[in-house]
């Protein structure tokens, strides 16, 4: 597909702002279509490493089934503050400060060592400095788990700043 231009360009985020925002979060919403009658949107934990999103899922779920039919995905990550209504005119002046990114890409399922590498990176993404290190890798569990890597084709970020 050809990607749309943002209508309100003053809200556009730079790539640096987009990546900082992505790294500050851990949950995204993944949208798939495959050949289903309806789109499918599901929240997932993610890791973001070298410009790719790493996801994981069981090997017998709905997601993996759809992705094998059509690997095209859309992702969104967002943060929203409370809507501001006090003393303002509805529809004209109400504002909800928010930040959201939308990414289009394709999913693939790495295997073998590549898969273990991505799972290791996934775990590291969640570890904070004061967390005890992960020392035990459950290889049986890893075999039953699908790792889904999303390669991004197009990404945009939009933000309505509080002062805007």
């Amino acid at each position: 597909m050809s990607y749309e231009q943002m209508r309100k360009k003053e809200k556009a985020m730079t790539m640096e702002e987009i990546e900082t925002f992505i790294r500050s979060k851990t949950i995204l919403h993944l949208c798939l279509t495959g050949n289903s009658s309806h789109p499918y949107v599901v929240p997932l934990n993610y890791a973001y490493v070298n410009g790719k999103f790493i996801l994981h899922s069981t090997n017998k779920g709905h997601k993996a089934e759809i992705l094998h039919v059509d690997p095209r995905v859309c992702i969104t990550i967002s943060r929203q503050h409370f809507i501001e209504t006090e003393g303002l005119i509805p529809c004209e002046e109400y504002k909800t400060p928010y930040t959201s990114i939308v990414a289009f890409g394709k999913a693939y399922f790495p295997e073998g060592n590549e898969k273990i590498g991505y799972l290791t990176n996934f775990v590291k993404y969640y570890m904070k400095i004061d967390d005890p290190p992960v020392t035990e890798f459950d290889t049986d569990f890893m075999l039953r788990t699908y790792v889904i890597v999303i390669e991004v084709d197009h990404i945009t970020g939009k933000t309505l700043r509080r002062e805007a």
């Binding site: 597909m1 995905v73 005119i89 509805p90 529809c91 109400y94 959201s100």
Partner: protein
């Protein structure tokens, strides 16, 4: 369509739990089809009542064009509570969440219903009856999602 069965049925939310999650949240994610069949998802404010979602939007834009082209949508509302980490990867890790996934059709009414829907939407956020100006109503669209299938799931 044939709706998929949940793999882990013991994690399914009851109807009351689904209702209460939808009533206690304000933001969901709307999935639509792009004109080439690929997916598009964005976060949106919503109001939920009488078994349907009300959203609002500017008159033109990507999601509106998608809906006019194919009105089948997915709307997801989720709440994340806590992630428990462990030194054992991956089976020692747990994520506590609740999520509701609804499949349905998006309708964009342009008749007298539109104003009432936008007022219902607005009141869900202000918790008081706000009268909307004609100008406000004119430049805004109301989107109603009529639910065809809905399920909720919890993670523990």
């Amino acid at each position: 369509m044939e709706w998929k069965k949940m793999i882990k049925e013991d994690r399914q939310l009851s109807e009351q739990e689904v209702e209460s999650l939808l009533k206690s949240n304000k933001i969901g994610q709307l999935g639509t089809f792009n004109n080439d069949g690929s997916p598009y998802v964005i976060s949106m404010n919503y109001a939920y009542s009488n078994g349907r979602f009300i959203l609002h939007s500017a008159k033109d834009g990507h999601k509106i064009r998608n809906i006019l082209n194919n009105n089948k949508v997915c709307f997801t509302v989720s709440q994340h509570y806590q992630t428990t980490k462990s030194n054992k990867s991956c089976s020692g890790w747990h994520v506590q969440y609740k999520s509701v996934i609804a499949f349905g059709r998006a309708i964009i009414p342009e008749d007298e219903n539109k104003k009432a829907l936008l007022e219902e939407f607005t009141n869900a956020f202000t918790h008081e009856n706000v009268a909307l100006s004609e100008k406000g109503v004119q430049k805004t669209l109301a989107i109603v999602i009529e639910i065809e299938h809905i399920t909720g799931k919890r993670g523990e």
